[in-house]
């Protein structure tokens, strides 16, 4: 038997439209990063807000924000699933923007050997770093970015990513490795050693 206060906490709560409107920009940014389509992102956020306002299922357990973002994530996954069923682009791996850092013996090339980036908190405290971070994310090839962002941005388990995209574990590991290697290379070239600054 539930006691009275427990029952009360499970009652649907009124969703504050103004509070949701304040999250709008963040939702659009979040969605655009994953789908790389700002117009589609606007549509999905619009749909999410409507769904949130009319659902009547918010129980007040957990924050309103995490509840709304859960709806948003599900809508994004629907789009990815649908895109995957009807691919418009070829699945040829795009290697542009990545230089193979290994020599013929699979050791680091001298000029490509990873440097010491220093203290992570110092790097992350630098505003310029975040500008370059976003540029580097957007430079990842489409298919690589899709897997990496599902894993690290939507925070899906890699098993779920494999299921949604119908790829093998091994394939996913290869793609994640490529994504991380390309990101670190882009950051090191453009921020850490500052060649392009």
């Amino acid at each position: 038997m539930q006691n009275e206060s427990d029952q009360q906490s499970l009652q649907p709560q009124k969703v504050d439209a103004e509070q949701i409107a304040m999250m709008r920009e963040e939702m659009v940014r979040f969605t655009t990063l994953q789908l790389r389509d700002a117009i589609l992102a606007e549509d999905i956020v619009h749909e999410t807000i409507n769904a949130a306002l009319s659902s009547g299922k918010y129980t007040g357990r957990g924050s309103l924000k995490s509840w709304v973002f859960a709806i948003l994530r599900n809508k994004i996954i629907d789009v990815i699933r649908d895109r995957n069923r009807h691919p418009t682009e070829s699945f040829i791996e795009d290697h542009s923007g990545y230089e193979d850092p290994f020599d013929e013996r699979d050791h680091w090339k001298e000029a490509q050997t990873p440097a010491d980036w220093g203290r992570p908190d110092m790097v992350m405290a630098n505003e310029q770093f975040w500008v370059i971070f976003e540029i580097c994310l957007n430079r990842l090839p489409e298919n690589t970015a899709r897997v990496f962002m599902m894993r690290e941005h939507l925070e899906l388990d890699l098993k779920e990513v494999c299921k949604e995209l119908d790829i093998s574990d091994k394939n996913a590991w290869v793609i994640m490795h490529r994504a991380r290697m390309q990101l670190r290379q882009c950051l090191e070239m453009n921020f850490i050693t500052g060649v392009h600054l």
């Binding site: 980036w117 992350m124 690290e152 941005h153 590991w173 990101l183």
Partner: protein
């Protein structure tokens, strides 16, 4: 002995699955003698942390 390329593959996979004991030992031994891979390993962890911060911004 692991090559650097294989070592980076294991570093990456360690974020997505549990490595076997054998893999962990081989990676650790490689990291002891390779500063490039040691830096790369730190950077891969940093990337995960940065994505977390990035979401909160």
């Amino acid at each position: 002995m692991l090559k650097c390329k294989q070592a980076t593959e294991l570093m990456s996979q360690s974020q997505d699955r549990a490595l076997t004991l054998n893999e962990r030992v081989r990676l650790k031994l490689h990291l002891l003698i390779c500063s490039g891979c040691t830096n790369c390993n730190k950077q891969m962890r940093f990337l995960h942390e940065a994505m977390e911060q990035f979401r909160k911004r």
